[in-house]
C-alpha cells in the first residue's frame, strides 16, 4: 500500500511585519516558515497506517522552494519513506487551485492507495487544495475527517466527517481515495534528534515542472484568484485597547465584567 501526504511549509508572520511595496504581499524578512499544523496530523495518520500494515510506503510531497525542505525533512525524520518537492519560481504566490494542479501531476506518478491532506493551511486557510486535488485525480474524497479506520482486506476506509456544532457523520469510502484530515484526529509524534540527522539520508527528490509535463502557463491557468490588495483589518467598532501593567489591565477587565454582569 502507498500513502501520499501533500504537506506545506506555511508562513507565520512576526508580531511586527511590513507589507511589500505593491501592497499585495508581506516583506519576506518578517516571515518565519513552519510545517502546517494540519499536515502534522495527516502525516501522523499516514505513519499509523504504515505501522499497522506490512510494506506500506509513506511519501510526502510539497510544492515549495528550499524553505519546504525543512518541513519535508521533519516528515522523513518522523518516519516517512520518501519526499518529493516540486518547484519553479513561477509558483511564487500560487493559490490553492494552482497548487492542486501541480500536486495532481506529482501524485499521479505515485498511483497511491490513499492521499491524506490537511484540511487547510494555517496561513491561506483556503480548505480547498485537497478537494481540488481529488477532482483532478478523479478520486473519491471526504473532507474534514476526524477519525479514520482503514480496512486493508476490502481497501475501504470508514471515516468520521466533522460537521458543525458537535455533529459527525460516519461514512465509508472505497480506496483509492483522498481524505482531508482535521486536527485532533491523533497525537502527532515528535522526531528524535537522531532521527532528524538520519532523515538527511532518506530520498528527497526535487522535481521541476517540466518533468511533470507542466509549465508556468498551465499553472497560472489553474489559479483561482489574484490578490490585488492586502490591508490591515479594521478593528472592531468601539474597540478599546487597555494599556498599562498587568494589574491595570486586570483592574479594568474586572470593572467591565462587573458592570456588564450586573446590567
Amino acid at each position: 500500500m502507498k500513502v501520499v501526504v501533500p504537506v506545506k511549509q506555511v508562513a507565520n508572520l512576526d508580531d511586527e511585519f511590513e507589507l511589500d511595496d505593491d501592497g499585495t504581499g508581506v516583506d519576506p524578512d518578517s516571515v518565519e516558515w513552519e510545517l502546517n499544523e494540519w499536515d502534522t496530523f495527516s502525516v501522523e495518520a499516514a505513519l499509523q497506517l504504515a505501522e499497522a500494515g506490512d510494506g506500506t510506503e509513506v511519501v510526502v510531497v510539497s510544492v515549495g522552494d528550499e524553505e519546504a525542505d525543512e518541513g519535508l525533512l521533519a516528515c522523513l525524520a518522523k518516519g516517512a519513506d520518501r519526499a518529493v518537492r516540486i518547484w519553479d519560481d513561477g509558483l511564487e504566490g500560487a493559490d490553492a487551485l494552482a497548487v492542486a494542479r501541480v500536486l495532481a501531476a506529482a501524485v499521479e506518478r505515485e498511483s497511491p492507495d490513499l492521499v491524506l491532506c490537511g484540511v487547510q493551511s494555517s496561513d491561506a486557510v483556503a480548505g480547498a487544495t485537497g478537494v481540488a486535488l481529488a477532482a483532478h485525480l478523479g478520486l473519491p474524497r471526504v473532507a474534514v475527517v476526524n477519525k479514520l479506520d482503514y480496512d486493508a482486506a476490502s481497501s475501504t476506509a470508514t471515516v468520521e466527517r466533522e460537521l458543525e456544532g458537535g455533529l459527525v457523520e460516519v461514512l465509508r469510502v472505497r480506496c483509492p481515495a483522498l481524505l482531508t484530515i482535521q486536527t485532533g484526529i491523533n497525537e502527532p509524534r515528535y522526531a528524535t534528534l537522531r532521527a532528524i540527522k538520519q532523515a538527511r539520508d532518506k530520498p528527497l527528490e526535487v522535481v521541476e515542472l517540466a518533468a511533470l509535463a507542466l509549465d508556468g502557463a498551465a499553472v497560472a491557468q489553474a489559479a483561482g484568484a489574484r490578490t490585488r490588495a492586502l490591508r490591515h483589518h479594521e478593528k472592531g467598532e468601539g474597540a478599546e485597547m487597555i494599556d498599562g501593567s498587568a494589574a491595570d489591565v486586570a483592574g479594568r477587565i474586572a470593572e467591565i465584567v462587573k458592570e456588564r454582569m450586573s446590567g
Binding site: D15, A100, A124, V131, A135, L163, L171, T183, A254, V257
Partner: protein, 317 residues
Amino acid sequence: MSGVLVIAETRRGELRDVSLELVTAAMDVNDPAGGRLTVAVIDGSPEAHAQALGANGVDEVVTVTSPVEHFEAHVAQRAVEALIDELDPTLIVCGHTIDALGFGPAVAAARGLGFASDVTRIAWDGGPIASRGAYGDKLQAELDFPGRERVLLLVRAGAFEPASGGGGASVRALDVDLGDAVRTEHVDFVEVGAGDVDITKADFLLSIGRGIEDKDNIPQFEELADKMGATLSVSRPIVDAGWMSNARQVGQSGKTVKPKVYLALGISGAVQHLAGMQKADTIIAVNTDPEAPIFTVAHYGAVTDLFEVADELEQHF
C-alpha cells in the same frame, strides 16, 4: 452568461441557516452580475425546502433530487456542474461550510472557475471582488479573478444577515442524472460533545486557548472561572490536545455562544473560533500578539501576558 446561482444547504431534513445568508450575499452583487438570482437546493427531498428559499429578491428556486437522502459531496459536485450548464451563471455562491468544502473546490478545479473560500464580503468592479483573510487572518486580502468569466465563492457562515422570506420566486425541478455520482456510503450521524455543562446557557464565559501552554495550567483557570462566577470554555486546540472535553469547545465545530461577557485568554481567534463567539455582547481579549485576529471582534483588548493578568484578576473577585 449572467446572474448569480446560490447553492442552499440542508442537513437531516432541515434547511441550514447559511442558505438565506448566501441569498443576502448574492443580492449585494446581483445587479451587476446580470440581475437574475437563482437558488438551488440539492437534497433527497428538495421540494420540502423550496418555499422557504423563495426569499425576497430570489427569482427562481431550482430543485435537484439526490439519489441519496443525505448530503453526498460527489452528488453535489455533479448537480452543481449540471446547474452551471443549465443556468450559465456568472457567479456561484456556496457556504464556506464543511459540506461545501467537500464539493466547491472540486467544481472550481474541474471547470476552471475563479475561486475563493472563506469570503466575508463580495463587491463588484467589472467582475466579482472577494474579501477574505490572509496570513492566518492577520491581514485582509482583496481578490479579483482576471480572465475568469465565471467565479465560485465559498462565503463564511454568519458573515451576512439572512434574507427575509416571502418572495414570489417560481419553483422548478431540474432533472439531473445523479445515479452513478454517489461515491461514499452514509453510515450514521453521531452527536458528540454532550457533557455536564452547557456553555451556550452561560452569561459569562471565561475562555482559554493555546496561550495557556500546558495542561497543568488548566486548574488555575478553573479556579479563576469559579471565583469570577464564569463558566470555563475553550478553543479548539485545548480539545484537540485532550485537555478538556468537546462539550466546552466554542467555535464552528463546537458550540455557538452568545454570553453577556466573553473573556478570551490566550485565544488568537482562528476564523472557526470567531464564528462561534463573535455575537457575544461584550468581548474582552488578552493576547500577547497584537495582530491576533481576535482583536478584530473584541470590544476590549489587552496585549499582555495572560498569566500575569489572571493572577491579578483573582484579587478582584
